[in-house]
Amino acid sequence: MREVAVIGVGMTRFGRYEEKSILDHGREACRGALKDANIEWREVQIAYCGATQQGITPGTRVLAELALTGIPVITVDNASASGASAFREAYMAVATERVDVALAFGVGKMGRMLPSEVSSDPAEQKLMKANVGILPVTFFAMRMKRRMNDYGNTIDQFARIAVKNRRHGSLNPFAQFQRPITLEDVHNSRMICDPLTVLHCCATGDGGAAAILCSMDKAAKHVSKPLITVAASASSTQPYRSRNFPGPDKATLAAHDVYQQSGCGPWDMDLVQVHDAFTVEEIDFYELLGFCEEGEGGRLIDEGVTEIGGRVPFSTDGGLLARGHPMGPTGLAQIWETVIQLRGEAGPRQVEGARVGMCHIIGFGDVSFAHVLKR
Protein backbone atom coordinates (compact mmCIF):
# COMPACT_ATOMS: atom_id res chain seq x y z
CA MET A 1 0.00 0.00 0.00
CA ARG A 2 1.29 3.49 -0.77
CA GLU A 3 1.85 6.33 1.67
CA VAL A 4 -1.03 8.77 2.24
CA ALA A 5 -0.86 12.44 3.24
CA VAL A 6 -3.45 14.45 5.16
CA ILE A 7 -3.34 17.75 3.29
CA GLY A 8 -6.24 19.63 4.81
CA VAL A 9 -8.43 19.70 7.89
CA GLY A 10 -11.42 21.75 8.94
CA MET A 11 -13.89 21.80 11.80
CA THR A 12 -16.61 23.87 13.35
CA ARG A 13 -16.48 24.95 16.97
CA PHE A 14 -18.50 22.25 18.75
CA GLY A 15 -21.41 23.48 20.85
CA ARG A 16 -25.17 23.90 20.91
CA TYR A 17 -26.60 25.59 17.85
CA GLU A 18 -30.39 25.68 17.79
CA GLU A 19 -30.59 27.18 14.32
CA LYS A 20 -27.94 25.08 12.61
CA SER A 21 -28.39 21.63 11.09
CA ILE A 22 -25.86 18.93 10.18
CA LEU A 23 -26.03 20.33 6.66
CA ASP A 24 -24.60 23.61 8.00
CA HIS A 25 -21.93 21.92 10.13
CA GLY A 26 -20.94 19.53 7.34
CA ARG A 27 -20.79 22.23 4.69
CA GLU A 28 -18.67 24.46 6.92
CA ALA A 29 -16.27 21.67 7.93
CA CYS A 30 -15.82 20.36 4.37
CA ARG A 31 -15.28 23.82 2.91
CA GLY A 32 -12.75 24.47 5.65
CA ALA A 33 -10.82 21.30 4.86
CA LEU A 34 -10.88 21.92 1.09
CA LYS A 35 -9.63 25.46 1.59
CA ASP A 36 -6.93 24.29 4.03
CA ALA A 37 -5.87 21.67 1.47
CA ASN A 38 -5.86 24.22 -1.34
CA ILE A 39 -7.95 21.81 -3.42
CA GLU A 40 -11.24 22.10 -5.34
CA TRP A 41 -14.28 20.02 -4.35
CA ARG A 42 -14.41 18.62 -7.88
CA GLU A 43 -10.95 17.07 -7.44
CA VAL A 44 -12.21 14.81 -4.63
CA GLN A 45 -12.82 11.30 -5.96
CA ILE A 46 -14.56 9.58 -3.03
CA ALA A 47 -16.17 10.74 0.20
CA TYR A 48 -16.93 9.04 3.51
CA CYS A 49 -19.25 10.51 6.10
CA GLY A 50 -19.12 9.45 9.76
CA ALA A 51 -22.46 9.95 11.48
CA THR A 52 -24.70 8.22 13.99
CA GLN A 53 -28.37 8.81 14.71
CA GLN A 54 -28.58 11.61 12.14
CA GLY A 55 -31.25 10.06 9.94
CA ILE A 56 -30.91 8.39 6.59
CA THR A 57 -27.76 8.82 4.45
CA PRO A 58 -26.40 12.05 5.97
CA GLY A 59 -23.36 11.80 3.69
CA THR A 60 -25.23 12.58 0.49
CA ARG A 61 -27.54 15.08 2.20
CA VAL A 62 -24.55 17.11 3.43
CA LEU A 63 -22.54 16.92 0.20
CA ALA A 64 -25.53 18.04 -1.84
CA GLU A 65 -24.84 21.41 -0.13
CA LEU A 66 -21.64 21.55 -2.17
CA ALA A 67 -23.11 19.60 -5.13
CA LEU A 68 -23.11 15.89 -5.76
CA THR A 69 -20.56 15.26 -8.47
CA GLY A 70 -21.13 11.63 -9.29
CA ILE A 71 -18.38 10.30 -6.98
CA PRO A 72 -19.20 7.54 -4.49
CA VAL A 73 -20.41 8.86 -1.13
CA ILE A 74 -20.63 6.39 1.74
CA THR A 75 -22.00 7.00 5.22
CA VAL A 76 -20.49 4.94 8.05
CA ASP A 77 -21.94 4.52 11.53
CA ASN A 78 -19.72 3.31 14.37
CA ALA A 79 -21.23 5.38 17.15
CA SER A 80 -18.57 7.62 18.75
CA ALA A 81 -15.98 6.21 16.34
CA SER A 82 -17.88 7.11 13.16
CA GLY A 83 -15.54 9.96 12.21
CA ALA A 84 -12.47 7.80 12.71
CA SER A 85 -14.13 5.07 10.63
CA ALA A 86 -14.70 7.54 7.80
CA PHE A 87 -11.06 8.62 8.07
CA ARG A 88 -9.85 5.01 7.93
CA GLU A 89 -11.99 4.24 4.89
CA ALA A 90 -10.72 7.36 3.12
CA TYR A 91 -7.16 6.39 4.03
CA MET A 92 -7.64 2.86 2.65
CA ALA A 93 -9.16 4.18 -0.59
CA VAL A 94 -6.02 6.25 -1.26
CA ALA A 95 -3.51 3.74 0.15
CA THR A 96 -4.82 0.94 -2.08
CA GLU A 97 -4.71 3.26 -5.11
CA ARG A 98 -8.46 3.14 -5.59
CA VAL A 99 -8.41 6.97 -5.72
CA ASP A 100 -5.86 9.77 -5.39
CA VAL A 101 -7.96 12.23 -3.36
CA ALA A 102 -10.49 11.36 -0.66
CA LEU A 103 -12.66 13.34 1.75
CA ALA A 104 -13.54 12.09 5.22
CA PHE A 105 -15.99 14.12 7.27
CA GLY A 106 -18.25 13.71 10.27
CA VAL A 107 -21.39 15.50 11.41
CA GLY A 108 -23.56 15.34 14.47
CA LYS A 109 -26.44 17.16 16.12
CA MET A 110 -26.94 15.41 19.43
CA GLY A 111 -30.03 15.79 21.46
CA ARG A 112 -30.13 13.95 24.75
CA MET A 113 -29.56 10.36 23.66
CA LEU A 114 -31.88 8.04 25.55
CA PRO A 115 -31.09 4.35 25.99
CA SER A 116 -34.28 3.49 24.12
CA GLU A 117 -32.99 5.34 21.09
CA VAL A 118 -29.86 3.24 20.90
CA SER A 119 -31.84 0.34 19.50
CA SER A 120 -35.36 -0.14 18.22
CA ASP A 121 -34.96 -3.92 18.17
CA PRO A 122 -37.49 -5.55 20.55
CA ALA A 123 -35.03 -8.21 21.73
CA GLU A 124 -32.35 -5.64 22.53
CA GLN A 125 -34.87 -3.37 24.21
CA LYS A 126 -35.98 -6.19 26.52
CA LEU A 127 -32.99 -6.08 28.83
CA MET A 128 -33.05 -2.28 28.88
CA LYS A 129 -36.72 -2.36 29.88
CA ALA A 130 -36.09 -4.87 32.65
CA ASN A 131 -33.16 -2.70 33.78
CA VAL A 132 -35.23 0.50 33.98
CA GLY A 133 -33.29 2.83 36.24
CA ILE A 134 -29.92 2.16 34.65
CA LEU A 135 -28.31 4.74 32.33
CA PRO A 136 -25.05 4.67 30.34
CA VAL A 137 -23.55 7.06 32.91
CA THR A 138 -24.30 4.48 35.64
CA PHE A 139 -21.68 2.12 34.23
CA PHE A 140 -18.97 4.78 34.39
CA ALA A 141 -19.74 5.60 38.01
CA MET A 142 -19.50 1.88 38.83
CA ARG A 143 -16.20 1.71 36.95
CA MET A 144 -14.85 4.58 39.06
CA LYS A 145 -15.93 2.80 42.25
CA ARG A 146 -14.30 -0.42 41.13
CA ARG A 147 -11.02 1.37 40.32
CA MET A 148 -11.11 3.04 43.71
CA ASN A 149 -11.57 -0.40 45.26
CA ASP A 150 -8.95 -2.25 43.19
CA TYR A 151 -6.24 0.39 42.70
CA GLY A 152 -6.87 2.97 45.40
CA ASN A 153 -7.75 5.70 42.89
CA THR A 154 -9.14 8.83 44.53
CA ILE A 155 -11.91 11.13 43.38
CA ASP A 156 -9.28 13.87 43.05
CA GLN A 157 -7.40 11.86 40.44
CA PHE A 158 -10.51 11.54 38.28
CA ALA A 159 -11.28 15.23 38.81
CA ARG A 160 -7.74 16.15 37.72
CA ILE A 161 -8.50 14.68 34.29
CA ALA A 162 -11.40 17.12 33.93
CA VAL A 163 -9.31 20.04 35.16
CA LYS A 164 -6.45 19.19 32.76
CA ASN A 165 -8.68 18.76 29.74
CA ARG A 166 -10.65 21.92 30.46
CA ARG A 167 -7.36 23.80 30.73
CA HIS A 168 -6.27 22.42 27.35
CA GLY A 169 -9.67 23.30 25.91
CA SER A 170 -9.35 26.90 27.10
CA LEU A 171 -6.36 27.17 24.75
CA ASN A 172 -8.38 25.85 21.77
CA PRO A 173 -10.72 28.33 20.03
CA PHE A 174 -12.67 25.39 18.58
CA ALA A 175 -13.42 23.79 21.94
CA GLN A 176 -17.02 23.78 23.19
CA PHE A 177 -15.87 24.81 26.66
CA GLN A 178 -13.37 27.63 26.87
CA ARG A 179 -13.31 28.28 30.60
CA PRO A 180 -10.83 26.44 32.84
CA ILE A 181 -12.21 24.79 35.97
CA THR A 182 -10.79 23.88 39.38
CA LEU A 183 -10.90 20.67 41.41
CA GLU A 184 -13.45 22.43 43.62
CA ASP A 185 -15.65 23.16 40.61
CA VAL A 186 -15.62 19.46 39.71
CA HIS A 187 -16.45 18.28 43.23
CA ASN A 188 -19.19 20.90 43.67
CA SER A 189 -20.91 20.31 40.35
CA ARG A 190 -24.21 18.42 40.42
CA MET A 191 -24.00 14.80 41.59
CA ILE A 192 -25.48 12.38 39.07
CA CYS A 193 -24.50 9.02 40.53
CA ASP A 194 -21.85 8.88 43.19
CA PRO A 195 -19.00 9.62 42.92
CA LEU A 196 -19.63 11.00 39.42
CA THR A 197 -20.63 14.67 39.17
CA VAL A 198 -21.60 16.52 36.00
CA LEU A 199 -18.07 17.80 35.33
CA HIS A 200 -16.80 14.21 35.09
CA CYS A 201 -18.86 13.85 31.88
CA CYS A 202 -18.59 15.33 28.42
CA ALA A 203 -21.57 17.36 27.26
CA THR A 204 -23.69 16.71 24.19
CA GLY A 205 -23.32 19.13 21.32
CA ASP A 206 -23.33 19.70 17.58
CA GLY A 207 -20.65 20.14 14.98
CA GLY A 208 -18.68 18.95 11.99
CA ALA A 209 -15.10 18.04 11.15
CA ALA A 210 -13.37 17.02 7.92
CA ALA A 211 -10.06 15.93 6.42
CA ILE A 212 -8.69 15.63 2.90
CA LEU A 213 -6.37 12.72 2.22
CA CYS A 214 -4.33 12.20 -0.93
CA SER A 215 -1.39 10.44 -2.50
CA MET A 216 2.09 11.82 -1.90
CA ASP A 217 2.63 13.05 -5.47
CA LYS A 218 -0.66 14.91 -5.48
CA ALA A 219 0.06 16.32 -2.01
CA ALA A 220 3.18 18.14 -3.12
CA LYS A 221 1.15 19.99 -5.78
CA HIS A 222 -1.33 21.40 -3.27
CA VAL A 223 0.43 22.20 -0.05
CA SER A 224 3.76 23.60 0.90
CA LYS A 225 3.26 23.19 4.64
CA PRO A 226 5.17 20.24 6.21
CA LEU A 227 3.48 17.08 4.89
CA ILE A 228 1.59 15.11 7.48
CA THR A 229 1.29 11.42 6.66
CA VAL A 230 -0.68 8.50 8.05
CA ALA A 231 1.93 6.24 9.65
CA ALA A 232 -0.60 3.65 10.78
CA SER A 233 -4.31 2.87 10.72
CA ALA A 234 -6.18 0.05 12.39
CA SER A 235 -9.52 -0.98 13.77
CA SER A 236 -10.85 -3.84 15.83
CA THR A 237 -13.83 -5.03 17.81
CA GLN A 238 -13.92 -6.37 21.33
CA PRO A 239 -13.71 -10.17 21.12
CA TYR A 240 -16.23 -12.11 23.19
CA ARG A 241 -15.29 -12.09 26.85
CA SER A 242 -16.44 -15.12 28.76
CA ARG A 243 -19.23 -14.40 31.25
CA ASN A 244 -19.37 -10.71 30.30
CA PHE A 245 -16.45 -9.97 32.55
CA PRO A 246 -14.22 -6.91 32.15
CA GLY A 247 -10.72 -7.75 31.01
CA PRO A 248 -8.16 -6.51 28.45
CA ASP A 249 -10.34 -4.10 26.59
CA LYS A 250 -11.30 -3.30 23.03
CA ALA A 251 -8.63 -0.61 22.99
CA THR A 252 -5.70 -2.95 22.96
CA LEU A 253 -6.08 -4.72 19.59
CA ALA A 254 -6.25 -1.60 17.39
CA ALA A 255 -3.59 0.17 19.46
CA HIS A 256 -1.26 -2.83 19.24
CA ASP A 257 -1.71 -2.86 15.46
CA VAL A 258 -0.77 0.81 15.02
CA TYR A 259 2.26 0.47 17.29
CA GLN A 260 3.41 -2.39 15.08
CA GLN A 261 2.60 -0.68 11.77
CA SER A 262 4.24 2.62 12.72
CA GLY A 263 7.23 1.11 14.50
CA CYS A 264 6.46 3.48 17.40
CA GLY A 265 5.67 2.43 20.94
CA PRO A 266 3.45 4.33 23.37
CA TRP A 267 6.24 6.53 24.72
CA ASP A 268 7.33 7.51 21.19
CA MET A 269 4.10 9.47 20.83
CA ASP A 270 4.43 13.23 21.24
CA LEU A 271 0.68 13.56 21.88
CA VAL A 272 -2.32 11.27 22.24
CA GLN A 273 -6.06 11.76 21.77
CA VAL A 274 -8.49 9.31 23.40
CA HIS A 275 -12.19 8.81 24.09
CA ASP A 276 -12.46 10.77 27.35
CA ALA A 277 -16.26 10.99 27.47
CA PHE A 278 -15.90 10.35 31.22
CA THR A 279 -12.84 11.17 33.31
CA VAL A 280 -12.37 7.52 34.34
CA GLU A 281 -11.94 6.52 30.69
CA GLU A 282 -8.78 8.57 30.23
CA ILE A 283 -7.16 6.90 33.23
CA ASP A 284 -8.22 3.49 31.91
CA PHE A 285 -6.68 4.34 28.54
CA TYR A 286 -3.30 5.25 30.07
CA GLU A 287 -3.15 1.56 30.99
CA LEU A 288 -5.00 -0.02 28.05
CA LEU A 289 -2.86 1.83 25.50
CA GLY A 290 0.32 0.65 27.21
CA PHE A 291 1.60 3.82 28.89
CA CYS A 292 1.77 2.17 32.28
CA GLU A 293 0.90 -1.04 34.09
CA GLU A 294 -2.64 -1.93 35.07
CA GLY A 295 -3.66 0.10 38.09
CA GLU A 296 -0.91 2.72 37.67
CA GLY A 297 -2.91 5.22 35.63
CA GLY A 298 -3.59 7.54 38.57
CA ARG A 299 0.12 8.23 38.95
CA LEU A 300 0.34 9.69 35.42
CA ILE A 301 -2.25 12.37 36.09
CA ASP A 302 -0.90 13.06 39.57
CA GLU A 303 2.62 13.65 38.21
CA GLY A 304 1.51 15.87 35.32
CA VAL A 305 2.89 13.43 32.74
CA THR A 306 -0.15 13.88 30.48
CA GLU A 307 -0.44 17.68 30.67
CA ILE A 308 0.71 19.88 27.78
CA GLY A 309 4.31 20.44 28.87
CA GLY A 310 4.52 16.94 30.37
CA ARG A 311 6.24 13.91 28.90
CA VAL A 312 3.24 12.76 26.77
CA PRO A 313 0.26 15.11 26.64
CA PHE A 314 -3.19 13.55 26.30
CA SER A 315 -6.32 15.34 24.98
CA THR A 316 -4.38 18.40 23.86
CA ASP A 317 -7.44 20.04 22.28
CA GLY A 318 -9.46 19.55 25.45
CA GLY A 319 -10.66 16.05 24.57
CA LEU A 320 -14.29 15.02 24.57
CA LEU A 321 -14.64 16.64 27.98
CA ALA A 322 -13.80 20.18 26.86
CA ARG A 323 -13.66 20.24 23.05
CA GLY A 324 -16.96 18.36 22.90
CA HIS A 325 -18.46 15.19 21.49
CA PRO A 326 -21.12 15.37 18.80
CA MET A 327 -20.15 11.71 18.10
CA GLY A 328 -19.99 11.70 14.27
CA PRO A 329 -17.24 14.31 13.94
CA THR A 330 -15.30 13.54 17.13
CA GLY A 331 -12.77 11.12 15.58
CA LEU A 332 -12.02 13.71 12.91
CA ALA A 333 -11.64 16.46 15.52
CA GLN A 334 -8.86 14.27 16.99
CA ILE A 335 -7.26 14.15 13.52
CA TRP A 336 -7.73 17.92 13.13
CA GLU A 337 -5.92 18.59 16.40
CA THR A 338 -3.08 16.17 15.58
CA VAL A 339 -2.50 17.75 12.16
CA ILE A 340 -2.54 21.30 13.62
CA GLN A 341 -0.05 20.23 16.32
CA LEU A 342 2.28 18.42 13.91
CA ARG A 343 2.32 21.50 11.67
CA GLY A 344 3.34 23.64 14.64
CA GLU A 345 0.16 25.74 14.34
CA ALA A 346 -1.36 25.05 17.77
CA GLY A 347 -0.34 28.36 19.31
CA PRO A 348 -0.65 28.50 23.12
CA ARG A 349 -1.37 24.76 23.36
CA GLN A 350 1.50 23.74 21.05
CA VAL A 351 3.34 20.58 22.09
CA GLU A 352 7.02 21.46 21.58
CA GLY A 353 8.62 19.65 18.64
CA ALA A 354 5.56 17.44 17.99
CA ARG A 355 6.36 14.95 15.20
CA VAL A 356 4.22 11.86 15.97
CA GLY A 357 0.68 11.77 17.32
CA MET A 358 -1.81 8.99 18.06
CA CYS A 359 -5.58 9.18 17.82
CA HIS A 360 -7.50 6.38 19.52
CA ILE A 361 -11.26 6.18 19.81
CA ILE A 362 -13.90 3.63 20.76
CA GLY A 363 -17.56 3.35 19.87
CA PHE A 364 -20.59 1.81 21.56
CA GLY A 365 -20.98 -1.70 20.30
CA ASP A 366 -17.37 -2.45 21.07
CA VAL A 367 -15.50 -0.96 18.13
CA SER A 368 -12.10 0.65 18.29
CA PHE A 369 -10.07 2.74 15.81
CA ALA A 370 -6.49 3.94 16.00
CA HIS A 371 -4.34 6.15 13.79
CA VAL A 372 -0.81 7.44 14.01
CA LEU A 373 0.07 10.60 12.09
CA LYS A 374 3.59 11.87 11.63
CA ARG A 375 5.45 14.80 10.16
Partner: protein, 157 residues
Protein backbone atom coordinates in the same frame (compact mmCIF):
# COMPACT_ATOMS: atom_id res chain seq x y z
CA UNK B 1 -39.92 0.73 42.87
CA UNK B 2 -39.33 1.23 46.57
CA UNK B 3 -36.50 0.17 48.77
CA UNK B 4 -38.76 -1.82 51.06
CA UNK B 5 -38.49 -5.60 51.17
CA UNK B 6 -39.83 -7.30 48.07
CA UNK B 7 -42.37 -10.06 48.40
CA UNK B 8 -41.42 -13.61 47.49
CA UNK B 9 -44.85 -15.10 46.88
CA UNK B 10 -46.45 -15.19 43.44
CA UNK B 11 -49.72 -13.64 44.53
CA UNK B 12 -49.73 -9.93 45.31
CA UNK B 13 -52.18 -8.42 47.74
CA UNK B 14 -55.94 -8.30 47.11
CA UNK B 15 -55.94 -11.09 44.51
CA UNK B 16 -53.87 -9.05 42.04
CA UNK B 17 -51.15 -10.72 40.01
CA UNK B 18 -47.43 -10.07 39.61
CA UNK B 19 -46.63 -9.55 35.96
CA UNK B 20 -43.06 -9.50 34.63
CA UNK B 21 -42.12 -6.22 32.95
CA UNK B 22 -40.82 -8.27 30.01
CA UNK B 23 -41.49 -11.91 29.21
CA UNK B 24 -38.97 -14.79 29.15
CA UNK B 25 -36.20 -12.92 30.92
CA UNK B 26 -36.87 -13.99 34.52
CA UNK B 27 -39.31 -16.23 36.35
CA UNK B 28 -42.14 -15.05 38.58
CA UNK B 29 -42.55 -17.77 41.21
CA UNK B 30 -46.08 -18.91 41.94
CA UNK B 31 -45.40 -20.11 45.47
CA UNK B 32 -43.58 -18.69 48.47
CA UNK B 33 -41.09 -21.59 48.37
CA UNK B 34 -39.81 -20.77 44.89
CA UNK B 35 -37.20 -18.10 44.31
CA UNK B 36 -37.21 -15.92 41.17
CA UNK B 37 -34.52 -16.82 38.65
CA UNK B 38 -33.00 -15.22 35.59
CA UNK B 39 -33.69 -17.17 32.39
CA UNK B 40 -30.48 -17.60 30.45
CA UNK B 41 -29.09 -20.47 28.46
CA UNK B 42 -26.24 -22.96 28.52
CA UNK B 43 -24.36 -24.26 25.48
CA UNK B 44 -24.68 -28.04 25.36
CA UNK B 45 -21.41 -28.28 23.48
CA UNK B 46 -19.02 -26.34 25.72
CA UNK B 47 -21.03 -25.46 28.84
CA UNK B 48 -20.73 -21.68 28.47
CA UNK B 49 -23.56 -19.82 30.17
CA UNK B 50 -25.30 -16.68 28.85
CA UNK B 51 -27.77 -14.13 30.10
CA UNK B 52 -29.89 -13.08 28.31
CA UNK B 53 -30.32 -16.29 26.33
CA UNK B 54 -29.08 -16.50 22.77
CA UNK B 55 -29.14 -18.88 19.82
CA UNK B 56 -25.46 -19.30 18.92
CA UNK B 57 -22.72 -19.91 21.47
CA UNK B 58 -20.27 -17.01 21.38
CA UNK B 59 -17.57 -19.21 22.87
CA UNK B 60 -17.60 -22.28 20.57
CA UNK B 61 -20.19 -21.53 17.86
CA UNK B 62 -22.48 -24.34 18.95
CA UNK B 63 -26.21 -24.03 18.23
CA UNK B 64 -27.62 -26.42 20.83
CA UNK B 65 -28.73 -24.31 23.76
CA UNK B 66 -30.66 -25.41 26.83
CA UNK B 67 -32.50 -23.14 29.21
CA UNK B 68 -30.52 -22.22 32.32
CA UNK B 69 -31.96 -20.70 35.48
CA UNK B 70 -29.49 -18.31 37.03
CA UNK B 71 -29.15 -15.55 39.52
CA UNK B 72 -30.08 -17.08 42.84
CA UNK B 73 -26.98 -15.65 44.51
CA UNK B 74 -24.22 -13.23 43.65
CA UNK B 75 -21.64 -10.80 44.99
CA UNK B 76 -21.62 -7.05 44.59
CA UNK B 77 -18.95 -6.30 41.98
CA UNK B 78 -19.61 -2.56 42.02
CA UNK B 79 -22.44 -0.09 42.61
CA UNK B 80 -23.45 3.53 42.53
CA UNK B 81 -26.24 5.59 44.06
CA UNK B 82 -28.31 7.37 41.40
CA UNK B 83 -29.36 10.93 42.30
CA UNK B 84 -31.35 11.56 39.15
CA UNK B 85 -34.05 9.28 37.75
CA UNK B 86 -33.47 7.41 34.52
CA UNK B 87 -36.30 7.96 31.99
CA UNK B 88 -39.16 5.62 32.85
CA UNK B 89 -37.99 5.11 36.41
CA UNK B 90 -40.83 5.72 38.83
CA UNK B 91 -39.39 4.80 42.18
CA UNK B 92 -37.87 6.81 45.00
CA UNK B 93 -34.72 8.86 44.53
CA UNK B 94 -31.96 8.16 45.45
CA UNK B 95 -31.71 4.54 44.40
CA UNK B 96 -28.73 2.24 43.97
CA UNK B 97 -27.66 0.27 40.92
CA UNK B 98 -25.35 -2.70 41.20
CA UNK B 99 -23.04 -4.72 39.04
CA UNK B 100 -23.53 -8.27 40.31
CA UNK B 101 -21.22 -11.23 39.85
CA UNK B 102 -23.49 -14.26 39.84
CA UNK B 103 -22.47 -17.59 41.32
CA UNK B 104 -22.25 -18.86 37.71
CA UNK B 105 -19.53 -16.25 37.01
CA UNK B 106 -21.72 -13.96 34.88
CA UNK B 107 -21.82 -10.22 35.40
CA UNK B 108 -25.35 -8.74 35.40
CA UNK B 109 -26.82 -5.39 36.38
CA UNK B 110 -29.86 -4.37 38.34
CA UNK B 111 -31.30 -1.83 40.70
CA UNK B 112 -30.53 -2.81 44.29
CA UNK B 113 -33.14 -2.91 47.03
CA UNK B 114 -30.72 -1.18 49.38
CA UNK B 115 -29.65 2.38 48.56
CA UNK B 116 -27.86 3.43 51.78
CA UNK B 117 -24.16 3.55 50.85
CA UNK B 118 -23.31 2.70 54.48
CA UNK B 119 -24.94 -0.68 53.92
CA UNK B 120 -23.31 -1.43 50.55
CA UNK B 121 -19.84 -2.88 50.15
CA UNK B 122 -18.03 -4.33 47.15
CA UNK B 123 -17.90 -8.10 47.61
CA UNK B 124 -21.00 -8.41 49.79
CA UNK B 125 -23.31 -11.38 49.10
CA UNK B 126 -26.64 -10.68 47.37
CA UNK B 127 -29.74 -12.63 46.45
CA UNK B 128 -32.22 -12.02 43.67
CA UNK B 129 -35.72 -10.75 44.38
CA UNK B 130 -38.60 -9.30 42.41
CA UNK B 131 -39.80 -5.76 42.98
CA UNK B 132 -42.62 -3.63 41.67
CA UNK B 133 -41.86 -1.14 38.90
CA UNK B 134 -45.41 0.15 38.58
CA UNK B 135 -49.04 -0.98 38.61
CA UNK B 136 -50.90 -1.75 35.39
CA UNK B 137 -54.44 -0.54 34.56
CA UNK B 138 -55.97 -3.47 36.46
CA UNK B 139 -53.90 -2.84 39.56
CA UNK B 140 -51.54 -5.79 39.03
CA UNK B 141 -47.92 -5.35 40.06
CA UNK B 142 -45.52 -5.07 37.14
CA UNK B 143 -42.24 -6.44 38.45
CA UNK B 144 -38.60 -6.68 37.50
CA UNK B 145 -35.61 -8.40 39.10
CA UNK B 146 -33.41 -6.68 41.61
CA UNK B 147 -30.71 -7.80 44.00
CA UNK B 148 -30.92 -7.48 47.75
CA UNK B 149 -28.38 -8.00 50.53
CA UNK B 150 -28.43 -11.75 51.19
CA UNK B 151 -30.73 -12.53 54.10
CA UNK B 152 -27.89 -14.18 56.03
CA UNK B 153 -25.55 -11.18 55.59
CA UNK B 154 -26.77 -9.37 58.67
CA UNK B 155 -26.23 -12.43 60.86
CA UNK B 156 -22.67 -13.02 59.67
CA UNK B 157 -21.39 -9.48 60.26
Amino acid sequence: MTTSKAEESGEAREGKKRIPIVSDLFTVPSSADDKPRLIGCRCQQCGEVFFPGRLICAQCGGEEMEEAFLGLRGNLYSYTVMRIPAPGYKGAIPYAVGEVELAEGLLVHSVLTECDPEKLQIGMPLEMVLAEVEKDEEGNEVVTYMFAPASYWGEQR
